[in-house]
Chain length 286, copies 4
């Protein structure tokens, strides 16, 4: 029995008749076996989205031929698409400051096999978490940042990310606002966890804001980082109940549990190529 | 612009290559436009499931030809399938006893347009809720049941359901165990709400059971009724937090909110042909 | 055995030593049996809050003497307090516009015994829901409002509320912003349900706002109405998950279930005298 | 200003008039300042429960006198009680097998200050997790267990626990059923996390059981270990949604997040002396 060679095709295009059939026929014709298929039409935006996961083990042509055929169909339907082979693992860099909970969470999930990726790099503006990275055998680079050095240091970071062939940057409670160059260099490939239910409590100290407003829920939001702080496309959100008994510290404690779970889910969705971004929104297939 | 004529095709069959392509090609070839497609493979059971929703407005053949073509493909892949046209609304009968919360909830959701169906009939073993049915203009039939009359009265009920051309029976806190004839006559078309998180607290008085066990959550479960009480395939479940402060009455109060929401979701999933049953499990497409 | 006569004492004051002992001793000394006691200290605000529920059945003095003793202790500790006898049911007016789900929900919960109050009045700026009020035997008053008549019509409403001796006004999806006179006349006694997770999506059409922002949760917030729209003290909040599949209508449908439950919980808390307001926050004892 | 010296008094006794006043008066009379007080009456069981947290900084007598006074009141009301001084930190032993997620979670929460205790000991029937304990500077003792050696090895464990003056044993996915001696030696002081929503899926492999039953939620339950497996008093439960897409591995992955959070909450409640056990139930004050 042939060894499975999985691939994922992510497609978005203006909605039109025949897309589903064209892709299904194409894959079948080449001997690719569709294992999963999920699609969505945003009728208001007139956009079509699809995720196809298929097995190439019995491909009757070769990858190059398949890729060319997909490119042709894509052109016909004005598709934006991404074809990803499962054997190529994404390379992830984690940015942190001093909070260690999200870093530990991601490294432990990775070690237990929950996250299918490589994590070759941890970057931080503080030296504190180097021991954690070391325990997990991950390279740690300290890139201190001051208002004066920020722009130059982000160039250092971009070079690091490029040198390590990073596919995804995860801001795991990284307490710096990213500059436009870094955002641009990794557009759609930087995940951030914000410690509130966005769009409530944008900006700094959301748990303090939540405490002052007297809300009865605290939340966390995972989103792609964009040039506009806290306004990027949202992938995941969750909340936990709060009461008058909760101090700011209690809210932060409850929030940490949310941050870990919400960020991990978002990272997982991205790694499994289940996310499509359009405008300021996301399609997150299950 | 042609008026949309929606149809849904629900398919289950042994997993094999080419199913997705065959169906996509078939529908496209007849001019049916696929709007939604969701599929699932249970690799352990070796089973494939798919739901296709499509628009027949620009059908290039006719329904009969399409149906024949589907039947052919179905035979080729040993498919069990169901083809449903959206313009034919399902007819629902609601069975109740004395509790009115699920009945009101379903009738109000129906009136507000949340449930795409007709509700021509309410059946009850008690006369109490006749005024509710009347307020909503629904026929109410009182079918009293005693241990002695049970079997005979269920024949009356079956006749009623047949006469009213009922497609789905919803047991909305109906406090009678259905007999084998009624179960058999509407196999896979009887939805029940059980007021616990099954398989915990099977049988009678689950809130009392939950209270005695000291659980910290109460639950509700919507499932298809089968010959084995409380063991039918589950569609929906949810829970709410409880504490030592909650009396049995409090648990029941919290539970009522769950029962309404869980049952309504299950009814909606069934009405929209998003549920496939296999063995004792369900696939519930979103 | 004496018939229980329950009373609730709600207290807030600057935090100081001896408050708990003073009140416990006072009640015990008069023969009142404390059934429940819950307290909270906001150390940041330096405020103390307590709720005491007790049985007067074996009172050794009389209510007047007890009330005088409480007034004395209250003065000593600079307390704001409220003493409520359970046999006096609060009188509730429900304000609605055209949406009926919260109205039905409250009336049904009331009828089933979940809400310990009287509901003598429904007020609406539209005539549509009169039949619902009539079905439940509740007086319905249509008070149409235009920008020109608003101020005068709110005087009519205030007179109505006073004439009916209303203790609590519940805005059950009432689509009018209340004017300052009505707010002032019933300060701390007007509950509103806002169909978002405040402070996200303040103002009109929150489901549309949520849809545009692409959030993955929809929420509902019950709060006291104050002069600043959507900024009053929050009692209850909850959320439900949303996905890219949800249209504005789907968000609204999911939201209606939240609105009902969140509003009902808040009404219940208020009716049971479990809420204390300070600044823009609430203490909601369980 | 005097340094706060906090103490907690946990009381349970047959319900009677005057208990609240007696304790409040007693503490006030000795100069102890009540910071928090929570109580509960189980009217069905006729039992009264109270938790009082107070500050001894301005105690007018001394601890010994206070303790004697409490003992006297306790005798008068037939109270079972526990007086705990906050400066004495509880000592916790964690039992593990091969799963590391709950162990890491507890050690990280402890390090971040969420759990007010000492963790001097990790015990395991496997050597695998020694490096984790070592990283956190905690003594690790490997106590291998076979059916033949079980009874003897549990004596070794009891001696270890006694030697380390352990107050609480946390079974953090420890895959051995405890014998009666160990249970008896630490009655009411052994917390277990079961990876299902008890009483559903008692016993081994609950995720497999859940998968086979086709439930739409997975759960976790923290309870005190008793002689009857999985039947001890429950402190905390929570659930997560599941769907037909979830394999056993997916259920286990979702479950691990629940296990960590539910166990941590239960440990925290126990450490803060917020739990009272009666019969097979718990009062968990907030």
């Amino acid at each position: 029995m042939p060894v499975p060679t999985l691939a994922t095709l992510l497609v978005s295009c203006p909605d039109r008749r025949g897309i589903v059939a064209a892709l299904a026929q194409l894959l079948y014709g080449h001997g690719a076996n569709i294992l999963d298929s999920d699609q969505h039409t945003d009728t208001e935006a007139g956009m079509f989205f699809q995720r196809l996961r298929f097995d190439l083990a019995e491909l009757q042509t070769d990858k190059l031929t398949l890729e060319r055929a997909i490119a042709e169909v894509a052109e016909r339907f004005s598709m934006t698409y991404r074809l990803v082979y499962a054997e190529v693992k994404k390379r992830v860099a984690i940015f942190v400051s001093r909070y260690d909970h999200c870093l530990y969470d991601l490294l432990l999930r990775h070690r237990s096999g929950e996250l299918s990726c490589e994590i070759p790099l941890v970057v931080s503006n503080h030296p504190d978490l180097e021991p954690v990275a070391r325990d997990f055998g991950v390279r740690f680079v300290h890139v201190p940042i001051t208002p004066e050095t920020k722009s130059a240091q982000e160039q250092v970071e971009i070079e690091l990310l490029v040198a390590e062939r990073i596919d995804l940057v995860v801001l795991a409670r990284y307490m710096q606002v990213l500059g436009p160059d870094l955002i641009a260099a990794f557009a759609g490939r930087i995940l951030n966890i914000h410690h509130s239910f966005l769009p409530a409590f944008v900006g700094g100290k959301p748990y303090h804001q939540a405490y002052r407003r007297g809300v009865k829920l605290v939340g966390a939001t995972a989103h792609y980082a964009t040039a506009n702080l806290d306004e990027g496309p949202i992938l995941e959100q969750d909340v936990a109940h709060a009461s008058h008994r909760d101090s700011v510290e209690d809210l932060a404690r409850k929030g940490r549990d949310l941050e870990k779970v919400v960020l991990a889910r978002a990272v997982r969705s991205h790694l499994e190529d289940r996310v499509l971004v359009y405008g300021n929104k996301t399609v997150v297939f299950e």
